[in-house]
């Protein structure tokens, strides 16, 4: 089975799809992390928000596409409210305060999901347009998963253009590199951070609603994705788009192929990689900040 190229190709696609999901989540987290040294453990909860809200919208309107467009916006609004009420107050506090505050948010979200949507896993069906299988190399593969890969790549492209080719992107890069200097040059770092934070929430919501048809929607899904996302952020290097995509591909492929090739060790592999990175190259593979 392991020598069958078709099988390996399918695994490759699975890995790519998981990587893209990780990318959507980690890019927002990484840039808020790099921009303001802000640690948001509740980022996974926003992902789950996207999935749950997407489920409800899909049920009410009967259209997955409505959910796909509206759920990320709703999550973005939730993120903005959280920012205004809580996060702004601990922005410059130490990592311990931030970790605990956002850990508290995880707890609150967890029970909020249970109260509103119940304990059971909810299924969301893929849109009819994409709910078919296609044949590649003698294997059947769900079209929706390919759509997810394309979505990740498209988001990467848009973010790359926005960061590298626009004025705002230049401001973000300057602020990540040296926030004080950027604000001396007239960049409103505070407002920029808010915008980046909201974009991160939007992408987390997008990841949630996009993942809903593949994984089911259940309380605790946020904790499951949070750890791999954090690993990606640290391995990739804070605040860099390149780091987020490379880290996502690394962890996505490692987990997928690890499970196929060495199932006993698969779970530990990414932690070993994270430990090794922190010891050998604590700033990550592609840190955005110059040293």
């Amino acid at each position: 089975m392991l020598t069958d190229p078709g099988y390996l190709f399918v695994q490759f696609l699975n890995g790519l799809q998981f990587s893209m999901l990780l990318f959507l989540l980690s890019v927002g987290l990484s840039v808020t992390f790099g921009l303001m040294n802000f640690v948001n453990l509740a980022h996974g909860a926003l992902y789950a928000c996207g999935a749950f809200i997407g489920y409800s919208i899909a049920v009410w309107t009967g259209s997955f596409w409505a959910a796909f467009l509206l759920a990320p916006l709703a999550v973005c609004v939730i993120g903005a409210v959280l920012y205004g009420v809580l996060i702004r107050q601990v922005r410059s506090a130490g990592p311990l305060t931030q970790v605990l505050l956002t850990f508290g948010l995880i707890f609150i979200f967890l029970d909020a999901f249970r109260v509103i949507w119940g304990d059971l896993a909810l299924g969301v069906s893929a849109p009819t347009l994409l709910a078919t299988n296609i044949h590649i190399f003698g294997q059947t593969y769900p079209l929706y998963r390919l759509f997810l890969i394309a979505l990740g790549l498209a988001v990467y492209l848009i973010l790359w253009l926005a960061l590298e080719r626009t004025n705002i992107g230049a401001m973000v890069r300057a602020s990540v590199d040296n926030a004080e200097m950027a604000s001396c040059l007239g960049v409103n770092v505070e407002r920029l951070f808010f915008a980046v934070f909201c974009t991160g929430c939007l992408l987390a919501g997008l990841a949630g609603v996009a993942a809903a048809p593949i994984f089911s929607v259940y309380p605790g899904m946020d904790l499951e994705i949070l750890i791999p996302t954090l690993i990606v952020v640290v391995i990739g290097g804070l605040g860099s788009l390149k780091g987020a995509i490379v880290g996502s591909l690394l962890i996505g492929m490692l987990q997928t192929f690890g499970q196929v090739l060495i199932p006993q060790l698969a779970g530990s592999l990414s932690y070993i990689l994270l430990g090794a990175t922190l010891i050998l190259r604590p700033e990550g593979l592609f840190p955005a900040r110059a040293h």
Partner: protein, 338 residues
């Protein structure tokens, strides 16, 4: 800097007496809760030693809890070591793991230390979870308790067991209190305050961090050996990172860098959990709200606020006692720590 102030000693003594009384007076369920509080108190106070005094905020503390529990299980059930010796021997891998973690992470700081310890904890967790030899996700049941019938103590009596756990917790508290007032403890706090200065003084920063991490790991592992005997069962669930997070919450809700505060925090969180469970199973929500409120209120925690309040009162009192003209010279240096 740590001082075993009167207030701290009084609260510690009060909690100890309350624990002993509860061990004999409470019902069966009450005793279970008491043991749970004591176990979390051990975890929380050792984490406070590491995070509050040593400045190493770990999100992998529960891993040592698991290592201790599993080491005890392997020694008693696989290797046939007598339980009492196994309890002592199980601390060796805990210290070693903590020491190694300390060595490896000695240059990692802030959020990266949190991530590194999280990775360490999850690595141990996932390894155990997937390892068939260790019972995998099912864990191991039928763990024996230590046998002290030779000196007339029956550990299978819930009251005796609860009492023994409270006494053990008290002893560990005294040990850490002693360590913190020793030159090692002073050095550790110095490291937290200004690492470069300590290095300039010629100290081996790495060695101190490794020792602190090893000691905290040993205490958490000790709690693990007790936990294994308490439920007579170990499972990977005891070392999930959310357990580490919960312990960190207890430290903060009680009062960081006070040593006794985390014990108060452990009692508060465990009792709250059980009280809330009486009418709803959504205790996470309330703990989350408490945590956020505590942080926004300044992050001193329950005991920390009490201590700050008492310090303010004594300062006001001493100011009132002084003559209006004399107030310049005498400041009360102990007030903040009293």
């Amino acid at each position: 800097m740590y001082y075993p102030s009167k207030l701290r000693s009084a609260v510690a003594a009060l909690l100890f007496v309350a624990g002993i009384v509860a061990a004999f007076q409470a019902g069966y369920f009450g005793k279970e809760i008491l043991v749970e509080i004591a176990l979390y108190a051990l975890l929380a106070l050792s984490l406070d030693f590491l995070a509050g005094f040593g400045g190493m905020v770990s999100l992998g503390h529960a891993a040592f809890y698991g290592i201790g529990g599993y080491a005890y299980v392997i020694m008693t059930m696989e290797a046939g070591v007598p339980p009492l010796a196994a309890m002592a021997l199980a601390l060796v891998p805990c210290f070693a793991a903590g020491w190694l973690l300390g060595i490896v992470t000695s240059k990692v700081r802030g959020i990266f230390y949190i991530m590194a310890t999280l990775a360490f904890g999850q690595m141990i967790y996932v390894f155990t979870f997937q390892n068939r030899m260790l019972g995998g996700s099912d864990g191991v049941a039928g763990v024996p308790r230590i046998d002290l019938t030779a000196i007339g103590i029956d550990m299978n009596d819930p009251s005796i067991f609860a009492c023994a756990v409270v006494v053990a917790t008290g002893l560990v508290y005294l040990v850490f209190s002693r360590i913190l007032t020793s030159s090692f403890g002073r050095t550790l706090v110095g490291l937290h305050r200004n690492e470069n200065r300590m290095r300039a003084l010629g100290l081996s920063v790495r060695w101190y961090k490794a020792m602190a991490s090893g000691l905290a790991g040993t205490a958490a592992g000790f709690a693990g050996t007790i936990a294994a005997q308490h439920t007579m069962f170990v499972s990977p669930g005891m070392m999930d990172w959310t357990t580490s997070g919960e312990v960190l919450i207890m430290v903060i809700l009680g009062g960081l860098e006070t040593l006794i505060g985390p014990v108060v925090g452990a009692a508060f969180v465990v009792l709250l959990k059980h009280e809330i469970s009486e009418f709803t199973n959504h205790w996470h929500f309330f703990i989350g709200v408490f945590l956020i409120v505590a942080i926004l209120a300044g992050g001193r925690g329950l005991y920390g606020s009490l201590e700050a309040g008492v310090a303010r009162l004594t300062r006001r009192k001493s100011e009132r006692e002084q003559e209006p003209g004399k107030t310049t010279a005498q400041k009360n240096p102990e007030a903040g720590n009293a």
